[in-house]
Amino acid sequence: MEAERLKRLEAAARQVRYDIVEAIGNIGIGHFGGALSIVEVLTVLYFSQMNASPANAKDPGRDKLVLSKGHAGPALYAVLAQKGYFPRETLFTLNQGGTSLPSHCDRNLTPGIDMTTGSLGQGLSVAIGMALADRMDGRKNRIFAIIGDGESDEGQVWEAAMAASQYGLSNLIAFTDYNKMNIDGLTSEIMNLDDLGAKWRAFNWNVLRTDGHDLEAIDRAIDAARLESDRPTMIILDTIKGKGCSIAEGKLSSHNMAISKEQKEKALGELSAAMGELS
């Protein structure tokens, strides 16, 4: 990737992270951990890979994303605001009565949200339906989906795994946010996923694995996934829950965390210092 492009992506990602912390910090509680772990993949998708913008929001041929781990909505909202789907100020209505930004993604409320999620385990199946429909109608777009590692406990995920390869959905590119954490503990202790790549390979998916906080590596992985002609791709992203925010990073407590005004200010201070370094 050219240096200039990478720099732009880095700046976008830092703004997304800042906006997540400010928006959740504003209401005082929210799903920090799982939002911060997908900042890089969302940034690469919306600022490098996806054919999706406010201008084509109603075009059936656009690329679409199902954020199956819907509790990470605030991360996607920060990206959508930066893309211009709605004003940045809207971010600060998060979870307030009457808002268009509920904690879990809602396609009927939020411009740019392609699918409603929040009940874990359903999103990958929905993405399969979208990929089937778009293929039936001869569209050349891609369907993207992001699932959680804890979410992968749900049996429906593996029903979807079978179906996507049965139908040879090469237009489907999925990600697992492998942050190694559920809510109640480490994924390895709650419900061990063992060799996650081997599981997806056994279901006949094309499987790639990369550092989920490395923008260039994610971009390359998606480029590689696009070359696949008859199978769906699962890109396993090694991530850190709460990444980039010292009160949350690597902490189990970051899942749905209360944050005081002081903590919020401190976190925003850290993040703006990081943004300063970059420019």
Binding site: I27, I29, G30, G70, N95, Q96, G97, G98, T99, P102, S103, H104, D106, T116, T117, G118, S119, L120, G121, G148, G150, E151, D153, E154, G155, N182, I183, D184, G185, I190, M191, N256
Partner: protein
């Protein structure tokens, strides 16, 4: 003793049961912390199973444990306990007569910031359709603890609708409770307000105060057991007052109100008014906003009661 957080009272009941009876086991689906049962796991690690984010698997696992002699409690948010694992609860548990106690937490609008996907306005309805199932929703920590202990030894499966956050005691320590026997919190002759759960019972009491200010003598009944309905008490108050209100944090259709309405229409047709959700999905917001948005508050109960009485005897 001051009131304990509802989920702490729930966990205390489970721990006390488990201390007495080694058949008691607990299952969670990655919401142990949220449901307040970490202390159970710490005390009885061998009798605790975290199924991960896999509610359907958890409920059928509980059935297997029950069939082999254990007394399982299994929990998730009400939306997932009821909706996600309904067929497993129906078939593996109820149809197979496996004695499992299922707990659904954050019922109705108490899911607050988790929003519409997490708001169960239909779990009572789903559960009412299961033959013989006991459904209960205690309004405070004292009744919660007592009823959980009774549910453990009720011969069939049970469903606990548990408001998990908040601490308030409506009853004195040591008060006795029986599943299926509602509690009269306030006697009255003009109208009977039946209410269910942590949010609505206190609102009904407040409404009764407002009504008293207008010379209206309202009875308030804590209908902690939704099924089986305390028919005797309902009938008694319908006869006595001739006006019945039912208040619930749930859809009116298929909820507590419809259970009471069906019973009365067959036995003693009575003027009624139901407070609850009217054919809508949930949405995100804080509790104060949601109570107002869905009309689950004393003010609305008060106004609807006056309306009902205005029509009475026409």
């Amino acid at each position: 003793m001051s009131a304990r957080d509802m989920r702490d009272a729930y966990c205390e009941a489970l721990v006390e049961l488990a201390e007495e009876d080694e058949r008691i086991v607990l299952l969670e689906a990655d919401l142990m912390g949220a449901n307040g049962t970490t202390a159970f796991k710490e005390k009885f690690p061998k009798r605790f199973f975290n199924a991960g984010v896999a509610e359907a698997n958890m409920v059928s696992m509980a059935a297997g444990l029950a069939v082999c002699g254990k007394i399982p409690f299994a929990a998730s948010f009400a939306c997932f306990a009821a909706r996600r694992a309904y067929d497993q609860f129906f078939i593996s548990v109820n149809y197979a007569r496996a004695k499992v106690n299922l707990t659904g937490t954050d019922p109705g609008i108490s899911a607050v910031f988790n929003g519409g996907t997490h708001m169960s306005f239909e779990d009572i309805g789903l559960m009412r359709g299961i033959p013989g199932l006991v459904i209960y929703e205690p309004a405070d920590d004292i009744s919660l603890k007592a009823l959980v202990k009774e549910a453990a030894y009720h011969p069939g499966p049970t469903y606990l609708r548990l408001h998990r956050k908040g601490a308030s005691s409506l009853y004195a320590q040591g008060e006795e409770f029986r599943l299926g026997k509602a509690k009269v919190l306030r006697d009255g002759a003009d109208i009977a307000i039946l209410a269910t759960g942590y949010l609505l019972v206190p609102e009904a009491l407040k409404a009764a105060e407002l009504l008293a200010g207008e010379g209206i003598d309202a009875a308030v009944i804590d209908l902690h057991t939704i099924k089986p309905l305390d028919e005797e008490l309902v009938l008694h108050y319908a006869k006595k007052t001739g006006a019945v209100m039912v208040c619930e944090n749930h859809q009116v259709a298929t909820g507590v109100g419809s259970a009471v309405a069906m019973f009365l229409s067959e036995n003693l047709p009575t003027r009624m008014q139901c407070i609850g959700i009217r054919d809508e999905f949930g949405q995100v917001g804080d509790l104060a906003f949601l109570k107002q948005r869905f009309g689950l508050n004393a003010d609305r109960i008060f106004h609807k009661a006056r309306e009902l009485l205005g029509r009475k005897g026409e």
